[in-house]
Amino acid sequence: MGLLSDPKSRERFSRIAAKYNSPLCVLAYVVGVVWFLALAYKPFNHRTYFSENALLPGLVEGKFRTENVATRISQAMKDIKDVSKDGPMPVAWIVNQFRGLGLDTYTQEYIQTIPVPSARQSEEQGKEMFVQLNGTNVYAILRAPRTASTEAIVLSAPYKHYLNMDHNNHAFGLMIALASHFRKSSYWSKDIIFLLVDYDEIGMEAWLQEYHYTKSPLLKSSPLHGRSGSIQAAINLELHSDQVSHFNVKLEGLNGLLPNLDLVNLVVQLCGRERITVKLHQQRDTFPSEGWPAFQQNLKTMSLMMLHQATGMPNGLHGLFLRYHIEAVTLEGVLEPGRSTTGFYRMGRVLEGVFRSLNNLLERFHQSFFFYLLPASDRYVSIGMYMPPFGLILLVTALKISFWAVYIGTPDPDPWDGEENVVIEHIHSKKTGDGQGDNTDSKRGVTKIRTQNYSDGDVWSLVPVVSCCQVAGFIASISPMVMTGLGHLFGTRPYQALITGATGMFFASLFMPKCITRNRLACTVNTLRLWKCAALVLQAIILAATAAANFSLGMLLAVTMVPVCAMVRPGKLRFLQAVLMLLVSPLGLLVIYTGLYLLLTETEYHGVVPSAMHLCTVVYYNILSGVIHGYVLGTWQYTLLALAVFPNWLFFWCIVFKKRDVPVVENKEEKKTS
């Protein structure tokens, strides 16, 4: 409490904070960034371990021997696919496969409306304005012989792969093989639900919504006729061939949620037991695990994870389970040419082990971490380790806030040129009687004194600026949908209209500083100091709240925005500042981070122009999917950027372009007498 109540120590603190402000800020930022990057280095992170002892991984003997079923079924499904190319899911055939094993099998139909006007349909009939998807999910429940269906585990698979639209027939084959193996055993104490979903995330969302009785206005589905208990965990399976070289484990879920680290450990451990290589984001763990190359590799893995997490979009079907408090991961079997491969037998044994461990669970996953970053599949960085460097980066903002808070109201000339800092106030020209003289004054950039309270800065001037910025943000958040509606009238292609809506407001608001000219809102140096202080406070709040909900997004925003926004000042070097500010604008950041992602993942380099074109395309699709996912799945990243980050950025942008008013000390009485 000394600092709060003792004026001496308080003064000392503020003197130090003001005197060494810039070096302290640089130091905090550099230490924060270096510390954070160093977390990817082996001595600074920890080896993963099991917190939940009930899992007992690998203690049972694997008995899975029905891999020939998997081969047969996946081949049969492939044949069906070859006959009916791109046809709907062969529901009856799939139901028969499950029924043949004696499982309770059900189907669920759904219609998802995507709020994007479809040009084709409206021309035909004019009644269906939006794109609609019809799909059918098939699921089968293996009832646990030991309990009364109070708990369940899910094994799910998408019918088609999302990207290449290839059939996921191998995963279905393995699913049937596992089902036929599991149903012979009597030790299950949790129901096992086998789920095959159509249309990826939409189908999954439809099933989960119906299972948990939640409703969305855009999604209509038939009720589920068969149910089980509360779902404890889920494994989602994607196999690209019947022989895989490694499993790519996908973790990042909706809105940056991650599954409990115990589940990830479980999968990684059991894969290791069956000698299947595990990769994260297609990145192999390094050996030897120390040294410079290992550090580079780990940093790459961690960065990819952060970039994925920051988008808030699930990179597999597992991501949707996480919203319902169900721990889930996706196992993606990938065949990389030139590597040793593994067949259904060992994949089946891994999954058998995972399910038997999950079967042992006595409580929900709660022991291990929910907030972590993985630099390698067996190393983790927990929230306690990554928050201090993040805090150091935010400390830059905090130091700047305290700096400006000290300087508001002091006549100290130093920050931002003081010789102008005598007495300045609102222009009052229009209200005073003698308009002539005032106009000439304001043309020369001269403003008049009004109140005596000049030194503290004008708190009320914050109200119009902040509210203008917020209104701009609000418009940006609703404009994609408004623009698609308007574009529909003018016959624009819906996606183009959507992009126009999402970015149009951004470009339009770049001209906002023109609107708060001197005539509308005159500012003294102290008022501008106050603005800067308020903008920094808002920024710190936004970044802290974002980092609490989605750490990667908060961190990526903070690393770039904090140093630039801390340096922003009105007046000097306006062009350079504008360039820097544009780089850290929401759109600029999207381009930068998409570029970084491509740099880390793309192996081939085609030259500057094709790469730039590729980058633009990817950015385009990122914006598109960000907006559409917001409507369909409820991701909030676009809304956050539009409603919080963008207005705050705009505030700083206004500060850059705000002109200080040239002060003139005038004496009212003298004027009256004259």
């Binding site: 709060l4 004026p7 919203r323 408090h325 929900r364 929910f370 802290a544 709240a545 609490a548």
Partner: protein, 453 residues
């Protein structure tokens, strides 16, 4: 100051009605829009806005139980007072659309009351300054209050109440916190007007409704006694004691009357346990913005009674040291108590704090001695933004846990306590400067450094 020419002051008064219109229009408009938007349903379940006592969800439960002829106080669901229940029941029977109008009106009336409190307290401050000015140092003329300075205070208070996002959200959530603010504002107004009958009635209504305002009776009684006795007031003086006792007696008589009135609809006193007992014993440990829930969930059951006493005493005890220290300033004392109970009560909401915030402009003349105002504002903003985020992470996603949310409530409470202590310090320091001049010197001519330890 009084030397200010009158002609200067007159145009200052003219924009007032216009500003008031704007404030009323904006405040009511924002409330009405928010009430009719789809956010209203979400707001109703926000624990920051609706405590178990004031939640509208529970109120609907109570209304429907009453409709079925069951006393809502038999269960463990409903904790609002019988008179409010009967009032809302009548309204909902007449026409369901009256409910939102009722909540709008409550906030509107509270705004008016707060405005009146401002006007009256300012007048009271000026009068008091006039009486005491002969004791003040001749150097401290610049510290004296002027009518012009206090002119905008009631408007600011009205704006701070009606345009505060917290009260807007709280009103849109149909939280009866608005009603609590109304009765407390009524008590403040009646107190400053100094009419014993009205003041005791108003404090009785406030303490009937929200329990904690029971302690308001101490500064109110002191204020009335001081008005009656003038300069002769002292705790030892038998006349003063008689006056204090009369006020306290009046308060309890009114309270008894209100209880009797509440006895009538149900024919039993069960409601007393469900309302007052609920607030005092704090059996519902659903998380809220207060300090009780976390502590009592963590604690062994056999310490419960002891710590319950400690926590409740903490909420009310400060009235005694403050009564001693602020003997000459009962109005300031009363306003501090509004803030104190808003932090330490068992089921606080944002609406309670918002009422205290709207009282602050009256003490604007002390602000220049406050040292942590900026820090408090920042902490407040942080906790208001982070509370829903961490709540969501904890309850819906299951990834965070109770400690995250409790940290936010702690920060929120700390910010409020800082604000209160800082305000008290600023007030006392201003008093000191009034008596000793704005820049008092030590014997050697060194400037004195103020310190509060």
């Amino acid at each position: 100051m009084s030397a200010e020419p009158r002609a200067e002051q007159r145009p200052q008064f003219r924009p007032v009605p216009k500003a008031l219109k704007y404030i009323f229009g904006l405040g009511l408009g924002a409330r009405a829009v928010l009430m009719s938007s789809h956010l209203a349903g979400w707001l109703q379940d926000r624990l920051e806005l609706a405590s178990p006592v004031t939640s509208w969800t529970r109120m609907t439960e109570g209304l429907s139980l009453l409709d079925h002829g069951i006393s809502p106080y038999e269960g463990d669901m409903f904790h609002e007072t019988p008179l409010v229940l009967m009032l809302l029941y009548c309204l909902s029977k007449i026409w369901g659309g009256l409910i939102p109008i009722f909540f709008l009106l409550v906030d509107l009336v509270t705004g008016c009351l707060v405005h009146e409190v401002g006007t009256n307290v300012c007048r009271h401050l000026l009068e008091k300054q006039g009486r005491h000015v002969k004791f003040y140092s001749t150097d401290s003329l610049s510290l004296l209050l002027t009518g012009k300075q206090l002119n905008s205070v009631p408007r600011l208070m009205l704006g701070a109440y009606l345009l505060n996002p917290l009260t807007i959200a709280s009103c849109a959530a149909y939280s009866t916190t608005g009603l609590h603010s109304l009765v407390i504002a009524g008590a403040l107004l009646a107190a400053v007007q100094g009419n014993r009958l009205l003041a005791t009635l108003a404090t009785a209504v406030a303490s009937y409704q929200c329990v904690y305002p029971e302690i308001f009776i101490i500064p109110v009684a002191m204020y009335i006694a001081q008005l009656e006795q003038g300069g002769r007031f002292s705790f030892r003086d038998p006349d003063s004691r008689l006056s204090l006792l009369q006020t306290a007696g009046g308060h309890f008589a009114w309270l008894g009357f209100l209880w009797a009135l509440s006895f009538l609809p149900f024919g039993s006193m069960d409601w007393l346990y469900s309302t007052r007992g609920f607030v005092m014993l704090a059996p519902d440990l659903t998380p809220n913005m207060g300090l009780f829930w976390y502590f009592f969930t963590e604690m062994f059951e056999h310490f419960r009674i002891f710590f319950l006493c400690v926590f409740q005493l903490n909420a009310v005890f400060y009235v005694i040291p403050l009564a001693v220290k602020l003997r000459d300033h009962p109005m300031f004392h009363l306003h501090l108590l509004v803030g104190l109970t808003a932090v330490f009560k068992s089921y606080p909401t944002f609406g309670d704090a918002a009422l205290f915030l709207s009282l602050l402009p009256v003490w604007g003349h002390c602000f220049k001695y406050m040292r942590n105002l900026f820090l408090v504002v920042c902490m407040w903003l942080y906790s208001i933004v982070l509370a829903p985020v961490l709540w969501h992470l904890w309850i819906y996603y299951g990834s965070a846990n109770a400690n995250f949310f409790y940290a936010v409530t702690l920060a929120y409470a700390t910010a409020q306590i800082f604000l209160l202590t800082d305000l008290l310090y600023a007030f006392l320091r201003r008093e000191f400067h009034l008596r000793h001049g704005p820049a008092p010197k030590e014997g050697q001519g060194m400037p004195i450094l103020m310190n509060l330890k």
